[in-house]
């Protein structure tokens, strides 16, 4: 770890804690399970924090968070619907109508996500909920960028097809 990156654990928690929690929650689709994966991430950080090979603490933590969340996802597959209805992030638009439409759309997407293959689902969540770029996702997952682009695009096309089937007019407004 560089001298500039070497910081006390509390400072690291303050600086990167919300990001770690956001990434874990996005992958697992559940705040409690996301918090559990985030705690696993910080335990690994405490074990490796003096490791000189860590150049970029934020990137390292993000990769570990992704790995911990995927481990938890495979160890304990979700049994219930992910986030609660109406708890979608896009509920902060200025127009109330747009907010409602966005909420409805986010709920629809959440309901459809379990039907996607795991790789597409994880990439889609990391992009839309954790707000990571596809390049960051590719780095975190150890995949090539074109592969991640394909996963994301196919997830979008499949979700759009589901939406078209749900709304016969082809629109969702």
């Amino acid at each position: 770890m560089n001298a500039s990156e070497r910081m006390p654990p509390e400072a690291a928690l303050s600086a990167h804690g919300p990001m770690v929690l956001r990434v874990c929650t996005a992958i697992l689709g559940d705040r409690e399970r996301g918090a559990d994966a985030a705690q696993d991430t910080w335990l690994r950080y405490l074990r490796f924090k003096d490791d000189n090979s860590i150049d970029n603490l934020g990137g390292w933590l993000r990769r570990v968070a992704v790995a911990c969340a995927i481990d938890l996802l495979r160890r304990e597959p979700p049994t219930a619907q992910p986030l609660e209805a109406g708890e979608s992030r896009p509920a902060q638009g200025p127009d109330q109508g747009q907010v409602l439409v966005a909420r409805e759309l986010a709920d629809f997407v959440r309901a459809q996500l379990p039907r996607l293959p795991e790789s597409q689902r994880i990439v889609f969540r990391l992009k839309t909920e954790a707000e990571l770029s596809l390049a960051e996702i590719a780095e975190d997952l150890g995949l090539a960028l074109p592969t991640v682009k394909t996963h994301f695009a196919r997830a979008c096309v499949r979700l759009q097809a589901s939406l078209r089937a749900f709304s016969p007019e082809g629109t969702h407004s």
């Binding site: 303050s14 985030a38 997407v109 992009k127 196919r154 979008c156």
Partner: protein, 149 residues
């Protein structure tokens, strides 16, 4: 030349701002001659593409207020979260017992109603220091002597 499937995948990448220049060129060539993909583009913009166009809320890794930061950095352990409903039930049960006890003890030591105004005046006199008995007797003796027989 790309096919419809590839074009639609590129359209989704474009909606989310993830398309590079070479992909944009290939897509433009295809869109110029494909009405189906142009229609898909419109549908996507009104459907899943809305997720990309929503106003971005502040990122969670921006410095949050201290209370939020504390919650985000130190989430409660899983055992505490699982026991939370049980603790809430126990707390409400204890509160119910306390309220019941308070009602019962209140009924046993019912305060006496305030006395009417006249009694209150007597009470006031009674509480004043009475004259010494000897003085009273002395006054009575004087009065008795002064009464003509």
């Amino acid at each position: 030349m790309i096919d419809h499937e590839q074009a639609q995948e590129l359209l989704t990448l474009r909606a989310f701002g993830e398309m590079d220049e070479s992909e944009a060129n290939r897509l433009a060539l295809h869109l110029g001659s494909c009405a189906d993909c142009r229609r898909f583009d419109q549908e996507f913009a009104q459907g899943i593409g809305r997720l990309a166009k929503l106003e971005d809320p502040p990122r969670a890794d921006a410095t949050p207020p201290p209370s939020v930061r504390r919650v985000g950095v130190h989430p409660a352990p899983a055992w505490r979260r699982r026991l939370a409903p049980l603790a809430a039930c126990a707390a409400s049960f204890a509160a119910g017992i306390c309220v019941t006890l308070a009602i019962h003890s209140g009924s046993e030591s019912t305060p006496t109603p305030p006395p009417p105004p006249s009694q209150r005046v007597e009470g006031t006199f009674a509480r004043e220091s009475p004259p010494p008995l000897a003085t009273t007797l002395g006054v009575l003796t004087v009065m008795a002597r002064s009464v003509p027989r």
